[in-house]
């Protein structure tokens, strides 16, 4: 806020200090104090990140003393716990990327269609009942989803495609996608509903149908909200653990083929965390390096998302 700048041209015998309008110190101090507190709350998220990064970096340093960064990034095998240890993180990243991609291929179209349907087509009552029910999908313990993928979805898929292995990224990804639907649909529905009515009216007045209005006007106008929803969905998919751990086979395969089994970063981390490894061993340290990599990846995604949202934010 700019301080008012007064060019005191003809300041005639103006009372200097102590008049009734002067700033109150007590109130100002209190306001500053509260602002400080709120700032601390907001900054706490940064502090958390720093703490996480600090832990990840310090714990993974011993690993990088033994494994060169080049190997870490270029080796195509990830067998840190085996006798013949390889530390090719790209293997896990490929798994993470594939399951995430499959999940998003489910969640983004379905979530978006649901959002459009709820915001532009459905009645108020339907929307208000369905939305919270759908949000329950996000609350189902992921172990349940994992078994659902393994015991229901995989056999179904095998009926269609008999060569599908019992553990594969496809069914894990599909189920993960369903789990993420509410993240995408709820947040984008909110964003679409926030698009002011006069924009819609402008489109209807041109003779557009609901669908045309939704796709051509409402969605572009809600772009930043949709982007936020998608990013939230991506983040959730990238970080998801149990579904993949149960249904995708936990095989560190360097492959982008969703029909094969693979392991992801987060699944690897949780597995090792609860396993029998000594916590001081090099093998155990790999989870921190993997976590760090994951964090860097999501960071890149988020910066990209932030930039995109800023660039395409529509003012209506």
């Amino acid at each position: 806020m700019t301080k008012p700048m007064t060019t005191d041209v003809n300041a005639t015998n103006r009372p200097a200090a102590g008049h009734r309008l002067v700033r109150r110190r007590g109130r100002q101090l209190r306001e500053r104090f509260i602002e400080g507190l709120l700032f601390l709350a907001a900054a706490s998220s940064v502090a958390i990140t720093f703490a996480i990064v600090a832990i990840l970096v310090s714990e993974s340093l011993p690993l990088f003393k033994e494994v060169s960064l080049l190997d870490f990034l270029t080796d195509r095998q990830w067998t840190p716990l085996f006798d013949d240890a390889h530390f090719g993180i790209m293997t896990l990243i490929a798994g993470t990327a594939t399951t995430t991609a499959v999940a998003l291929l489910v969640a983004i179209p379905l979530g978006t269609v649901i959002a459009i349907y709820l915001s532009e087509f459905a009645s108020h009552r339907l929307r208000e009942t369905v939305k919270p029910i759908l949000e329950l999908l996000g609350a189902v313990p992921t172990v349940v989803f994992g078994y659902f993928a393994l015991l229901v979805v995989t056999p179904l898929l095998q009926k269609i495609y008999p060569d599908l292995p019992g553990f594969n990224m496809l069914s894990a990804g599909l189920v993960m996608g369903v789990m993420i639907i509410p993240y995408v649909s709820s947040v984008s529905e909110d964003a679409m509903r926030a698009v002011p009515m006069h924009l819609r009216e402008g489109s209807y007045a041109m003779g557009a149908t609901r669908l045309q209005t939704a796709i051509r006007v409402v969605m572009p106008a809600a772009f930043s909200g949709l982007a936020a929803a998608y990013i939230l969905g991506i983040s959730r998919a990238v970080g998801e653990t149990m579904i993949v751990a149960i249904a995708a086979g936990m095989q560190p395969n360097f492959t982008l083929n969703p029909l094969e089994p693979a392991a992801t970063i987060s699944a690897f981390i949780v597995q090792v965390c609860l396993g029998d490894l000594p916590h001081d061993s090099l093998g155990y340290k790999t989870i921190f390096a993997a976590g760090l990599t994951l964090m860097l990846f999501t960071l890149v995604f988020n910066i990209l998302g932030y930039w995109l949202r800023k660039r395409f934010r529509e003012i209506y």
């Binding site: 085996f82 056999p155 019992g166 751990a245 149960i246 936990m250 029998d276 490894l277 000594p278």
Partner: protein
């Protein structure tokens, strides 16, 4: 309020069912006067807490390793190592598998050794008598004590294994995997086979050339004929905690009740004599591990208990 009497236990999820059973019975017996808590942080997580002095006992599916011994020494934690049961690693196949009547350790090695990765993908590549069927492998994750033991016993070197198999910490997942695939072969703890013996078939193992194949069962494990795949699981007791009457009482109760409770949760109890020896160790507070920071295959529990303890 009065000083809480509480026994804190953590560690391997393999040992957990036994410890849980003991804890439950113990609390009932004491009418709640002593409280017991059991966690499942894994053997590694358990030792980490144990060596920080946060818990009184930790369950371990493998012996304490060098690094953990160092950590404990640094923190001044001394401990008593007590084997409490056998876990027989069971090699299982799909019931539809009609060719595998028994398997030799060599064949297992051919299947699981690191060199087999990408190379041995068909049954007939292991043994020409077996069909030209895709070989699908299932086993515990490389972070587990089971994996360490199996690789050491079969391949000859701990942690030396092929990587292209379906790994899971949850043995039920492995059970599901093997039941879903005719060409599957997997290994995991005996309890999971025992509970699913209709859906799976355990394969008798030939320990060495010329010896008869032995199927896993409580008897064959107990009498030492199921080799090399039966291993002991342990609890480690903090020596200082052992001075607390409630911990001492609990450990005694553990060793006394073990034969019944271990069987009840589908593990294999040690020979009676082994429990006697263990009780003596507790009484004498015999400190240290019998392994010296390395895991070993094929040691008998009795022999182990005779060894000099290292800290």
């Amino acid at each position: 309020r009065a000083e809480e009497k509480i026994v804190k236990i953590d560690g391997s999820s393999t040992v957990y069912p036994i410890t849980e059973a003991v804890a439950e019975e113990f609390q009932t017996a004491k009418r709640g006067a002593i409280r017991v808590t059991v966690g499942i942080s894994g053997t590694g997580g358990g030792f980490k807490k144990f060596c920080r002095g946060e818990i009184d006992l930790t369950g371990a599916s493998r012996p304490i390793l060098k690094k953990e011994m160092d950590a404990c020494r640094e923190a001044g934690i001394q401990y008593v190592e007590l084997p409490v049961a056998y876990d027989a690693l069971t090699v299982v196949v799909n019931p539809k598998n009609d060719w595998l009547k028994s398997i030799t350790v060599d064949e297992l090695k051919k299947i699981w050794e690191p060199g087999a990765q990408q190379n041995v993908t068909k049954w007939n590549q292991v043994n020409p008598a077996w069909p030209d069927q895709a070989l699908k492998l299932f086993g515990p994750g490389a972070d587990s004590g089971t994996f360490d033991y199996f690789t050491e016993a079969v391949v000859g070197k701990a942690k030396s294994s092929r990587g292209d198999y379906t790994a899971s910490e949850d043995d039920n997942v492995l059970v599901k995997g093997v039941t879903m695939d005719k060409g599957a072969l997997g290994y995991f703890g005996y309890a999971y086979y025992a509970e699913n013996s209709q859906k799976l078939r355990a394969v008798p193992v030939v320990p060495a050339a010329g010896k008869p194949a032995v199927a896993p069962s409580p008897e064959t494990v107990k009498n030492g004929s199921y080799q090399p795949l039966s291993r002991p699981v342990f609890i480690y007791v903090n020596a200082k905690s052992l001075d607390k009457p409630e911990v001492r009482e609990f450990v005694d109760f553990y060793l006394n009740q073990a034969p019944q409770l271990v069987a009840a949760v589908k593990y294999v109890a040690l020979p009676e004599q082994a429990y006697q020896l263990a009780k003596e160790h507790v009484a004498k507070k015999k400190l240290g591990t019998g392994f010296g920071g390395e895991s070993e295959v094929g040691v008998s529990v009795e022999e182990l208990l005779q060894r000099e303890g290292k800290l």
